[in-house]
Symmetry: C2
DNA sequence: ACTGGGCCTTGATCTAAGTCAATTTTTTTG
DNA sequence: CAAAAAAATTGACTTAGATCAAGGCCCAGT
């Protein structure tokens, strides 16, 4: 579902041709280091909607998302759910140093993971500085993202939340050119209204209403419910409540 | 203000006697490594209420909170504010590898930082594996905390938010013995109602009402507005909406 | 082509938390 | 110690978003 290129199968991909090699944990590794990882890795594909890890489970492996979209979420006893991570290709799954999972991970679209057994991976993490270096960088980036997300959850209105989500998804898919701020831009949101509501701390009805409000205000339009056309990206940005262009610094 | 022991002054403390040496970034360093850090460090004390760093500022230093409480927050153009980090002793301030600050940092109580110039510190981070190792661990812990916080912001009711905040503060001050779950426990919240509201994504009026509701329901009582007595910790925990005892795993 | 089941939309109503506006309590300081 | 400032409470009222409840749409499979 929504995987454009053919699904990768276990033994078929060498790290050389890996689509995420420049952004994943292994990004800084040298040839000899890659060889070690290559020897340990295995691919696994999870169908859309299926669980990858349950909170509380023992965590036997860690790995990188190669294709597809996965989500990290938390569930309360009475069923309230909050997404706490949106995992796209190159994002890391699992926390080295922890035996049990703290959050649920599930496949939103079909997801292929490049997996490593946790214990041996942890060993490599101490042996290969490049790996730890990249891991730290990724953790700090995620922390920054989590903090932006906290502002969204704590202070933004429903409309601002939707505009922010669309902006985030557009940015992560690299469909926005830094130049053409006013450009028309289109992309798929690989999330149901319900998944969006779990991301944003809203109900799915509110998500639906706000998306349609943005449509009525002529800021976006929809092709096929999950495909969004942003008529004027700058206007969408203005609706997020964030200052300026997002203030990209360093 | 609320600093129990005498305020540290710049040259007076050797790393040997540092109160946070077992939990700070430097926790895993060996003697020779500590010597390098010792040569670079300097203390600075910020009075309660004063800014430590503004978002957008150039980040000249990084460091650890030695005493006091600081907060990391984000402000929207129209003044809405959300706290995105609560920094207690041993917590790290600043993000290595970033030239400009993304968030505001300000002193909530008087705060003493153990500071390092950013550039030389980054150099040490690549030279001393122990430093990077601890840094990664701390970043991952903060990420987990941020994700719990996201659940709080996105899905919890005002009452659950207050109960959660009190629980978090009590835990961080180590006043809760894992054994005596039903024990009476008292501690200070070094935060104004407004600061609490910024933490929780509420207004200060709602914070006040909910604290008084918990008081009326005989779950807590107050001495001096900022000092809380939890009558029965297990009951407070039940009010957080989290499952069980917080499910401490590994 | 028909039908069943996910999704999604839309309307009516409800409510938790926000807003506005005084007080009261506590802390600071001259 | 009194006065001023800061923080906290409390009440009355409003509102954004939740909840409850139909329907509609769009494909996947027979």
């Amino acid at each position: 579902m929504n995987i454009t290129s053919p699904v990768l199968t276990p033994a078929s991909v060498s790290c050389n041709e890996c689509p995420i090699k420049h952004r994943a944990v292994c990004a800084y590794c040298e040839k000899s280091e890659m060889a070690k990882l290559e020897g340990m890795k295995s691919y696994k594909t999870y169908p859309a909607g299926s669980p990858i890890i349950f909170a509380g489970d023992q965590m036997k492996f860690v790995g990188s998302v190669v294709t597809g979209v996965a989500r990290l979420s938390q569930t309360m006893e009475d069923g309230r759910r909050q997404m706490v991570g949106l995992l796209l290709p190159s994002d890391f799954v699992g926390r080295p140093g922890r035996t049990y999972a703290t959050f649920d991970v599930e496949a939103t679209t079909d997801v292929t993971l490049c997996r490593f057994d946790r214990k041996p991976f942890e060993k490599l993490l101490t042996d290969i500085p490049h790996l730890r270096e990249r891991m730290l960088e990724m953790a700090l980036d995620e922390l920054d993202a989590a903090r932006e997300w906290m502002l969204l959850l704590g202070r933004k209105t429903a409309r601002e939340k939707i505009a922010s989500l669309l902006t985030i998804i557009a940015r992560r898919q690299n469909v926005v050119q830094t130049s053409g701020k006013h450009a028309v831009v289109h992309f798929d949101i690989n999330l149901t209204r319900e998944a969006m509501s779990e991301y944003l701390g809203l109900t799915l009805e509110t998500v639906s209403r706000q998306i349609n409000a943005l449509k009525k205000d002529n800021i976006i339009s929809l092709e096929k419910k999950r495909r969004v056309v942003v008529k004027d990206f700058a206007r969408l940005l203005a609706e997020t409540g964030d200052d300026e262009d997002g203030g990209f610094l360093d």
